[in-house]
């Protein structure tokens, strides 16, 4: 693997040069808020019967997708689970196309064939959107294998829930990544529950990075409180993967404020527990940091108003978009089916 030494030190956020990266923080906050407002709009549309199937919301975990999108270099890839809307928004997918996909419309991100769980936008670096737990881990390792084969300097970031740590494909993918020193970072978004099953009933150990040495993966583990800290620490793992062929396993302790999916009332968690995590909401922390840096309430309101308008427009766009043509169900099953 060729090494770009210039990149090696470049793990810190870009500086605007004015103040404590106010522009940068405002950008990250705006992106996080866009995800939250998108998810809230999707939840409303779901309760109105505009969206069907499964809808897994990313509310509470936004800092992870935003930090990731911010640190990626062109050509880097994100491979994630069915809880994928946040990454799509963070990576620059059009919110209207995302909403239209949830509505099953022709204008959706993948033309209405995938739905909530299967967002793909190759040119934005979003390489899925996988709904069989753990199944994407070896696939992501395959992207990294290709990067090594082609010596292209790209890094693959593979996200998985803590619930994916106990299935065979995950272990096989991580073992091969470690064995072949592939340029990949596996990121566990440990939101403490695999649907309704807490980690204590999934794993004999709390610290999931305790498995990393067995696969020769570097590791890091921390609570996602702060989007900038998350960015910095993930960037470090990515830099090692890129420059030193050192794959990593990073465990992020986080929390989804909603149920597993829209059909889940979340009765397996106490109100106190949910409230405690909500009080540490990374979105609110960023908002406070902006206030501390001198941003006005009017400016914050203007950001939110703009985002709410964007998501209203996205919902209207999805609502008004046409259904896919009947013949489209025959497309792309094989290459010959155009």
């Amino acid at each position: 693997m060729s090494r770009d030494t210039a990149r090696k030190t470049d793990t810190s956020p870009p500086s605007s040069g004015a103040g404590p990266d106010l522009d940068h923080l405002r950008h990250l906050y705006t992106q996080m808020l866009r995800i939250r407002r998108f998810e809230e709009a999707a939840a409303r549309a779901y309760t109105q019967g505009k969206i069907s199937g499964f809808l897994h919301l990313y509310i509470g975990q936004e800092a992870i997708a935003v930090a990731t999108a911010d640190l990626m270099e062109p050509g880097d890839r994100v491979v994630t689970t069915y809880r994928d809307h946040g990454f799509a928004i963070a990576l620059g997918c059009d919110s209207g196309a995302c909403m239209a996909e949830l509505f099953g419309k022709a204008t959706g991100l993948v033309g209405g064939v995938g739905g909530s769980m299967h967002f793909f936008a190759k040119d934005k670096g979003l390489w899925g959107g996988y709904a069989i737990v753990g199944s994407h881990v070896p696939v992501a390792a395959g992207h990294a294998f290709a990067s090594k084969y082609n010596q292209d300097g790209r890094v693959t970031l593979c996200f998985l829930g803590e619930g994916a740590m106990h299935i065979g494909a995950t272990a096989e993918g991580m073992n091969l990544a470690g064995l072949w020193r592939l340029p990949i970072v596996f990121v566990i978004e440990n939101n403490m529950y695999a649907m309704g099953t807490p980690l204590s009933r999934q794993s004999p150990v709390d610290d999931l990075t305790s498995r990393a040495p067995g696969w020769a993966l570097a590791s890091d583990r921390f609570v996602v409180n702060d989007v900038l800290e998350t960015r910095t620490r993930l960037a470090e793992a990515v830099a090692h993967a890129r420059n030193e062929n050192r794959p990593a396993l990073v465990e992020l302790l986080t929390y989804r404020f909603r149920g597993h999916s829209m059909s889940d009332p979340g009765k397996y968690r106490t109100k106190d527990e949910v409230d405690e995590w909500r009080s540490r909401d990374p979105l609110h922390r960023s908002e406070q940091q902006l206030r501390d840096a001198g941003i006005t309430e009017d400016a914050l309101t203007a950001i939110d108003d703009g985002i709410i308008a964007e998501m209203d427009a996205a919902t209207a766009f999805a609502d008004e978009s046409p259904l896919p043509e009947p013949a489209h169900r025959f497309r792309h099953n094989l290459i010959e089916d155009v």
């Binding site: 033309g111 793909f120 994407h136 792309h332």
Partner: protein
């Protein structure tokens, strides 16, 4: 014209395609340093190095997934299963990723890759190592499925499969790797989706269409030999491609003979043989003079004991019995 074993013909196909296209690589258990469990990949590591001939640990889901991920990046993996029995633990990768991602991404990604290896019963390997997987892999859209029975077909179809931009399931046979046959010296390709008549009608006697593929071919040809002196004139059609199916080749023969027997390795319940039967009754109902019969595995798990295994497997004697039955020549 060279005379090659099937394994040599397969190796020649892989070798030529690797030389032709830098993106082609081979991955699987023992494909490199061991030179292949069945020596299909013998010598390729020495020629192409570890970058392109990749030994894996025993992790079919892992390396099938790696191949899928690499194919999505534009590489052209050949994933060898030591036997398709082991593909069962990679089934999710093939079913949910390889077969679906082109459609699921609205064409953003293609999966130009081949999953290949021996399939079906060999000899006294018991139930877990004697299974024919075509019914599973033909049972869903998004893949093409090929089964080869001669060195000529093996080389020509594998080269085509490697160049195809779809995921291809490519069936070989452990007990046929040493079978010899003529292979042209010059390059050739065989299109996927075309059946081949391996034994034409002679025009004397009662015609019977015998449809087969893979290991079934030798059984069908032997049975046709036995049947000829009885005035049963068999046209043996090797499907070669199981998905897509060459309906026209099948129907053209049925219209001539009005009698059909399928001879193949695989269980009778559902699956590829049942699919072919269904198409014949739907598309050529008025041409049939007898029910379509199938000579395949008995509907049991394969026993180890030699005498029991022989009872379960299709045989020339069983096929001959079926030919007589469709010709109303019960003896």
């Amino acid at each position: 014209m060279a005379t090659l074993q099937i394994r040599e013909a397969l190796r020649a196909a892989i070798d030529e395609e690797m030389a032709r296209d830098e993106r082609v690589f081979v991955m699987g258990e023992e494909v490199g340093h061991y030179d292949g469990a069945y020596k299909v990949t013998e010598g390729l590591l020495k020629k192409y190095g570890e970058r392109r001939v990749v030994d894996t640990p025993i992790a079919e889901a892992g390396f099938a997934g790696i191949g899928i991920g690499a194919a999505m990046c534009g590489l052209r993996p050949i994933i060898e299963f030591m036997t398709f029995n082991f593909s069962a633990v990679a089934f999710d990768q093939i079913l949910n990723n390889a077969a679906k991602l082109h459609q699921l991404t609205a064409g953003q990604f293609t999966l130009p890759m081949v999953f290949r290896g021996p399939n079906g019963a060999a000899h006294m390997l018991s139930s877990t190592h004697s299974q024919a997987f075509e019914s599973f892999y033909c049972g869903f859209p998004g893949v093409k499925v090929v089964s080869v029975a001669t060195p000529y077909d093996a080389k020509g179809l594998l080269k085509t499969a490697i160049r195809d931009d779809n995921p291809i399931i490519f069936f070989e046979s452990e007990i046929m790797y040493a079978n010899r046959g003529e292979v042209p010296d010059e390059e050739y390709l065989i299109p996927i989706g075309k059946a081949d008549i391996k034994r034409p009608l002679t025009g004397t006697g009662i015609g019977v269409t015998v449809i087969t593929w893979g290991q079934g071919l030798s059984v069908a040809l032997a049975a046709a030999e036995l049947a000829a002196p009885e005035g049963l004139d068999c046209e043996v059609i090797d499907l070669r491609s199981l998905r897509p199916l060459d309906d026209e080749a099948v129907l053209a023969s049925v219209r001539k003979t009005n009698r059909v027997v399928l001879v193949y390795h695989g269980w009778p319940y559902g699956g590829t043989g049942a699919e072919v039967s269904d198409r014949i009754q739907r598309l050529a109902f008025d041409h049939l003079d007898a029910p379509v019969l199938r000579v395949c595995y008995e509907d049991v798990n394969m026993p180890y004991a030699e005498n029991l295994e022989q009872l379960v497997l299709p045989s020339p004697a069983k096929a001959l019995e079926a030919f007589r039955e469709v010709a109303y020549r019960k003896v």
